[in-house]
Symmetry: C2
Subunit: 148 residues, 2 copies
Amino acid sequence: MTEGWERRLRDHGFRITPQRQLVLEAVESLRHGTPEEILVEVQLTASGVNLSTIYRTLEVLEEVGLVTHAHIGHGPPTYHAVDEDTHIHLVCDRCGTVQSVSGTVAQDFVARLEAEYGFRTDISHVSVHGLCVTCKDRAYEAEADDQL
Amino acid sequence: MTEGWERRLRDHGFRITPQRQLVLEAVESLRHGTPEEILVEVQLTASGVNLSTIYRTLEVLEEVGLVTHAHIGHGPPTYHAVDEDTHIHLVCDRCGTVQSVSGTVAQDFVARLEAEYGFRTDISHVSVHGLCVTCKDRAYEAEADDQL
DNA sequence: GCGGGGCTGCGAATCATTCGCAGCAACCAA
DNA sequence: TTGGTTGCTGCGAATGATTCGCAGCCCCGC
């Protein structure tokens, strides 16, 4: 009985290796993870795995549709398993906090982009920048200062 | 008669320098530009300007609200003058093309994020990933192959 | 079980960005 | 206008993330 992930790899002409299994499991258990974080998780089981392998493996897993990545803020990308609930990251450009919200808030927006531009949005990949509630209030004060 | 950009810098305690003027002009004339591209543009006028200065200057200009930046795809960020019409980048993850569309398509989405989460979206900073019309069609074929 | 070619570990290379520092110059005051 | 004080810049090195080249290993079809 071939598991789904094995089939997906094979169907795209890739081999099944322990590293690929471990990386996929790490992504699933972390839910959010940068390559560096995934490396640490993988090394709990297999300490010999190299960071280059993490990068190459994530690329492969993404190509066959088992994981996706999103860019949050300026740092390295974070990877997710595709079966995660799709969500959107609200990134505060001032304090750097990241809030995950359900992808459903963007459904209308996504539909509109498809209708008007034929663009098929990968919603889980979107990250939205701006100011969180807290920092927004502080920004108002700064604007008030500007007026003086 | 002090020009607006000079006033903005002074009001935040920054000095007026030729480099800052040139970088701002370069951003305005390029409309979209990475630090590297801005350097080239600036060096048409002043060849001695250094890339470090471009980075530092962009940071300052952003802090005082004269420019903003957006992350498009995996490469370096691109900078825009703030008086540009706000727009959104639709980035195709397959072919890499970037399409700029009016920010108005996102107004409802932005309003909803503010209403539901108190999040103030910087719309010009959003970049939306997915598949463009052309690549979307090609993706359908690939999915069809998967079914076999 | 065997062989070929994909995969991995390792270290070096690359790319973007940041930092440290010494000299220069913008700006305030007299 | 003339100084003096900082802030700003150029330069080169450091850093951090990601990629590359290559030799050896091991997955997989026969």
